[in-house]
Each structure stands twice: as C-alpha cells, then as structure tokens.
C-alpha cells in the first residue's frame, strides 16, 4: 500500500467478498446507491482512509469525527464510499490504495457504481444500466447476466482508474453505469443501478425506500453535487460525451 495513503481497520475484515465503490460522480449515482446499501443492508464501518492527500476535512456523525472515505461491510460485501468529491490529482493514489487493500483481503470482484449522463433525462421513463468489465472473462459474466455492455466510449473518473488498475493486476472488476442527470442528484438512477447490481453481486436490496425518499435526497445532496461538479469540470468529465477514434 502507498505510504501516502493508509487504510486503518476498525474491525476484522471478511475475506472473499465482493467490494463495491460509490464515489461522487455524475448524478451522485454511486454515493446515493452506497448510502442506500449501508442502511438497507445494515452495513457497519470496518475501515477508513487516512491520507494527507485528502482535503483537510472530517465528517461529523453524532458528534464524532470520521474520515470522508470509509469502508463499510458485512460478511458478504465490502463497500468503499466517499462523502466528499475527490480531486483529479488524488484519484490515482486513493483508488490504488483501496484496490491494493481489497486484494489483500482476497476480494473476489470489484464493482464500481456510477452513472452515464444523458440529455433530456427527465423524459426517460425506464433508465438503462450499462456495464463494462476489466477482462474478457468478466465481460462474459456481465453478458450472461443479461446486462447491456458499454462497447465504445470514454470513461473518466474513479471508475476509470479502478478498471485500469484491476485490469493490470488481474482482479475481476465491473463498472455499472446508470443513465442519469449530469449535474443533478439522481436517486432514480441509483435505484435502477441497484436492481442490476443484484444480478452481479447477489445482494438482496429493496429500492422502494430509496425511491420514496427521492426528493429528500435531491435536496440534501445539492452541496455535494455542486462540489462534485467543480471536480468533474477539472477532470474533463464531459469527455465521456466524445466519440472515440478507432485504434485497433
């Protein structure tokens, strides 16, 4: 693990689980999905990140300080979530440290939860969820479960770093991307993603409460979304709209 990023364990960490990632990105899809998983599956904090690369902030919950990047879990799943937008220049060390830590716990698959922005999102009734995989074997798993594959395009942000690093280190990894708003928190997209996640991660999750609380989440998430927009702009997130040039 990198010297500049430490992961401090608070509890015994289960082994051979899947590891999920929910980081601030378009529509805050990953963070909203992660928050819902924590409450619905009753996940507890098992570890947290400590690093001078992170902004000098803590998150207070019930009067106690917490790192903005924490890992929750139970016997079946580990979930890394960030409560603050991560700047472009810290994404690499942060993601590499989390993946290295996950490998040390024999994580069997890494799954990143995020969104893919679409224009006229408010006119779409049934949101599609796309998937990308780190290897041909993992891509087969995605196809076998009936998920739609994101065949060509650019991916920018934490999930891009995760996919590349997992491909390099031969860890099976999948990124799930739900159609969403670019700049607005999108609980419906998070719900659509969690429905597809059930197929891949074999997690039982009920999204009805998430949908019921949609307006509350949108109001509450405005500030995180605004800060995330600033970081997305710095990392040229709009490149995901670009048409890639074919290089064989």
């Amino acid at each position: 693990m990198s010297e500049e990023v430490k992961i401090i364990e608070r509890k015994e960490i289960p082994r051979n689980t899947v590891m999920l990632f929910g980081f601030p990105d378009v529509g805050l899809v990953g963070v909203i999905a992660a928050s819902h998983l924590i409450s619905d599956l009753d996940l507890t904090e098992v570890a947290y990140m400590d690093s001078r690369l992170l902004p000098p902030l803590i998150v207070l919950h019930e009067g106690l300080p917490h790192s903005p990047i924490r890992i929750f879990g139970n016997h079946d799943v580990l979930l890394a979530v960030s409560e603050t937008a991560i700047s472009a220049d810290t994404i690499y060390p942060v993601m590499h440290a989390l993946i290295d830590w996950g490998r040390s716990k024999n994580v069997k698959m890494m799954i990143s939860m995020s969104g893919i922005p679409v224009q006229d999102r408010q006119d779409i009734e049934k949101l599609k969820v796309f998937a990308a995989a780190s290897s041909p074997e993992t891509l087969k798993v995605v196809r076998d479960e009936g998920l739609e594959v994101l065949k060509e395009g650019y991916m920018v942000g934490p999930q891009a770093v995760m996919m590349q690093y997992c491909a390099n280190t031969r860890v099976p990894a999948i990124t799930l991307l739900a159609q969403c708003f670019f700049k607005y928190p999108d609980p419906e997209a998070a719900a659509a993603l969690l429905k597809e996640l059930k197929k891949i991660a074999r997690i039982k999750v009920d999204v009805s409460k998430l949908l019921e609380k949609g307006e509350e989440i949108r109001l509450r998430a405005r500030d995180v979304m605004k800060r995330t927009q600033q970081e997305m702009s710095k990392m040229k997130k709009t490149q995901e709209y670009d048409i890639p040039m074919y290089v064989s």
């Binding site: 408010q122 607005y184 949609g214 307006e215 509350e216 949108r218 109001l219």
Partner: protein, 146 residues
Amino acid sequence: MSTRRRRSIFEIINEYFENLEEWTERFREGLIEKPSWDHRACTMEPLRDIMVAPTEVIVTVDLPYAEENRIRVKPVGRDTIEIFAKMKRKIRFDDFGMTHYKGEFQTLHCRTRIPIPIDIDKMEVRFKKGILEIRLPRKHGHEIPE
C-alpha cells in the same frame, strides 16, 4: 452594403459599465463561496444548468419538493431570470441532523444570467420529474444578407 453607425462616447462608456457589471456578476456567482441557503430570506438555492443550443438556450433547475402550480419564473431585464418555487413542506436544519444552525425554508430561489442574447419574452416553461425547464429562443444579432 450596410454602413456602420459610429457610436457615441456615452454608448461606449455605457457598454464598458455593462461589461464590468457582467464580469462582477460572473465573479460573484463563480468564485465567491457562499452557503446554498439564506436563513434570513428563508430560501434554499437549487442546482441549475444552462445549455446553449444553436437556436435556443435551455435552462434547467432541479426543484425537489416544489409544487408545480407555485413555481414563478420572472424575467429581470433582458438577460436574467429569477425563479421562485414554493416547497410542499417546510425544511429545517434539524431535518438534516444539523442542530448548530437554526432556520426553516419553504422556498427555492435562484437568479440566473443568460450568457448570450435571448428573446426573454418568448420563453417557454415546463416542469417534469421535479426539473424546471426554461427554453429561451436565441437572438441572432448579425445575419448575412442573401
């Protein structure tokens, strides 16, 4: 062939101050950090976005809890719109678990300046899935005659 009218010194000064005002407004909106709420005015600031298309400018605003029939879109001058949306319920800091601030909010409010010339009188408004969409036709200042 069209001839260009020479502008008076007053027009030039006026334009200079208009540009300065625009720059100040952009600076204020973009760089100065401020809370997304105003407890004195009892308002919260919604997220918004502006998209410039070839024939129109589309402004969208995320209005959670807004009541459709209590949304007001008001033109301010030639290039700014102001949005007020009454929420279905009062929101308090307590609702977010925050006890160190006091205040309650029942209105979402924002002011948005449109960066290019538009015909503000022809704006069209719709509200779907909690998103307010305002379409403003673009004014094309210079057209090449046939």
